[in-house]
Amino acid sequence: MKRLPRVGYLMLLPFFLAFAVFTIYPVVNTFTTSFTNDSLTSLNPAHFIGVENYQHELASPLFWKTFYNTWAIWLPNIILQMALALFVAAVMTNYQIRLKGKGLFRAVIFFPNIVTVTTIAILVYALFDWQSGAINQLLFGSNHAKYINWFSHGYWAQLVISGVQTWMWFGFTAIMLISGIQSMPKDYFEAAVLDGASDSKIFFGIVLPIIRPVMVYIMITSLIGGMNMFDLPWVLFSNTGGPDQGAMTMSVYMYSRAFTWDQNLGAGSAVAWIVFAIIGVFTLAYLRVTYGKENAEETMK
């Protein structure tokens, strides 16, 4: 086998250095910190306390509440997001519907994804303001008695965040699906049409099975993103979690634990690893359901 010149390794060095400093070190440091009583309020050195942080967090009702909140925000979002994206992808790739200005439409649906979360939070405040916001006016017109105070109950806050996440991400998901569909050989469609298959048959019988890997990728990346959801709930409600603490996700809890409440870095690090384990378990479970045991393990590798 031909050996590569050693200078090639030098070219790779900057990446590995950055990777070691910004990824490996924080991961290892978070892991070791999770077994200590390290705290930002104390100038004393941290002590090893074993698995105490893990025990405490797993027994904390607030942690499990944040677990529930995270799912309550992510699940409706991914269902609606996938449905919308599939619909858009199906329409935009249907050879019988010759849409004009597809490029512009793609840019428009992708747009929310490039807007900063802080900007979106300001928009959310304006749109969902219960007295003067556009959403209530749109839903109930001048019937003020029916206006919903969107930030008065945990479930409303969850619904708002979930809806905003859908709006932000369905364009991205649709574009992923469109590229998945467009990469399919045209012969499949032509053969199906020649055999007299209907549009719905083509979609469910050919398109969906073929784009399954793309959908799995979207589901898993969305699951990871959803379980780590931090920015929007934080910008909207900070460390209070909003009404009924309903918008306190696991990541908001982790950050608050480590940096704002008692500034317990050990506990915050333990939460980070618990969230990691949760994501791992659900990802594996999803892959097993989708691909079966053997293929799931192969995919994880």
């Binding site: 930002l40 100038l43 607030l62 409440w261």
Partner: protein, 427 residues
């Protein structure tokens, strides 16, 4: 050949030499750098840094860290003892946390012997650690008041004289009764009932956690909930989220169209917020609330490991001990000074009202704030106020939205939430 310099030239030359040396002697810290870590660029914008650099010849390296991240940035620096600024600050919400770290020099002791004799008691009290040692000083105080619409007051109370209007708000029962009267006329007393938080938080008599880490929920918090609930249930607040666009809009509504009678602001609300509400300028007056209160403020500390303690002290001394300079600064910025002598000296400068013309009737805001500042008691402030006050605010929102059967259940919820946040304390 003899060379004769004219006498006048010689004299001028000598005077010039003397002046030059005097000036360079004044700039005793040339070539040195003072590092200040704070959470706003006000030292730059209000000209303090320029003044200090001119006075000492030193260069000031100003590091600005957002307020909400300030402690997270400061603590690691203090822990590693690397890159620690010569001066670090503490905002009212966490100054107790800062002074209790034990990393600031004792400003009351040698060689500083800072004087707090002329300072408002609460301003000095906030800078003391749990043992009573003076660790931080401030140049400003931030007492607050009820900024009301004169046009509405005239219609509803028959007077817009701040003293007369204040009589309608001197106790909580009168406060509620006046709110009801305003509601009858179609006005809201406040934009949001929760806005009263600053008034009550500043009047806690004991810290949330005592020296033995025991939890105390001051009875004043319960009173806060009761008053806020009465306002909400009596339709006396407009239910506008604070700092939201409608909340700001109401402040900028011209007289005659305004629906909200009053906003609660400290000193800085006058200079930084109300002065920008061009449509409502001149329609405001200030009167007292049933309790005297403050909101905000910045305290300066010198890092005990700093190699530039003399320079840091020169800066803090200029800001907090040098009364002629404090006078100049207060007149330049409109800031309400922490020094009573300064306040009394410049008070009459504002007999024609504030510079932006926010207050109508030539009301002297300096006189008003001076009355309040003297009565503020900060003995109940503790390190955890910043976080726990937010929790209290969040539970209040839930209480106002009828999530709890009674106020005691809401108090219990506060304890539960705080316990989740500070699990290692005693409850």
């Amino acid at each position: 050949m003899k060379f004769h310099l004219p006498k006048r030239v010689l004299t001028l030359g000598l005077v010039g030499l003397w002046l030059g040396s005097a000036l360079s002697f004044g700039q005793w810290a040339q070539g040195r750098t003072l590092t200040i870590m704070t959470f706003s660029d006000e030292f730059k914008t209000n000209g303090v840094i320029a003044d200090f650099e001119k006075l000492t010849g030193a260069h000031v390296d100003l590091r600005v860290v957002p307020n909400e991240q300030y402690m997270n940035k400061l603590i690691p620096l203090l822990r590693t003892k690397r890159d620690v600024p010569d001066i670090f600050v503490g905002e009212a919400g966490y100054i107790k946390e800062v002074v209790n770290l034990g990393q600031s020099v004792d400003l009351g002791g040698a060689p500083y012997y800072a004087s707090t004799d002329n300072q408002y008691p609460y301003a000095a009290e906030m800078g003391r650690d749990k043992s009573g040692v003076l660790r931080a000083l401030t140049w400003q105080t931030t007492p607050g008041g009820l900024f009301f619409r004169r046009s509405i007051a005239l219609k509803v109370f028959g007077t817009d004289n701040p003293v007369e209007v204040g009589k309608h708000f001197s106790t909580w029962s009168k406060f509620i009764a006046s709110g009801k009267l305003l509601a009858k006329h179609g006005y809201y007393l406040l934009p949001e009932a929760g806005d009263l938080g600053s008034v009550f938080f500043a009047n806690k008599k004991e810290p949330y956690f005592d020296a033995n880490h025991n939890w105390h929920l001051d009875p004043i918090i319960k009173k806060y909930f009761e008053v806020a609930k009465q306002l909400r249930d009596g339709n006396m607040d407009m239910k506008l989220s604070d700092w939201s666009a409608p909340w700001m809009d109401q402040m900028n509504t011209p007289p005659g169209k305004a629906k909200v009678f009053a906003y609660l602001w400290p000193t800085w609300g006058l200079f930084f917020v109300l002065s920008n509400q061009k449509e409502s300028l001149g329609d405001w007056g200030i009167c007292h609330t049933p309790l005297d209160w403050y909101w905000g403020g910045t305290w300066l500390n010198i890092y005990k490991g700093s190699p530039n303690k003399d320079l840091a002290w020169a800066f803090i001394s200029m800001m907090t001990q040098n009364e002629p300079y404090m006078e100049k600064l207060a007149l330049r910025t409109g800031d309400f000074s922490s020094d009573k002598v300064v306040v009394n000296t410049i008070m009459d400068h504002f007999n024609n009202g504030d510079p932006a013309g926010v207050l109508g009737g030539h009301q002297n805001h300096y006189k008003f704030f001076a009355e309040t500042a003297d009565k503020i008691d900060a003995s109940g402030v503790s390190s955890e106020d910043r976080v726990i006050n937010q929790v209290v605010g969040s539970v209040l929102d839930d209480y106002l939205n009828n999530k709890f059967p009674n106020v005691d259940a809401a108090m219990k919820e506060i304890t539960t939430r705080v316990q989740q946040m500070y699990p290692d304390m005693n409850y």
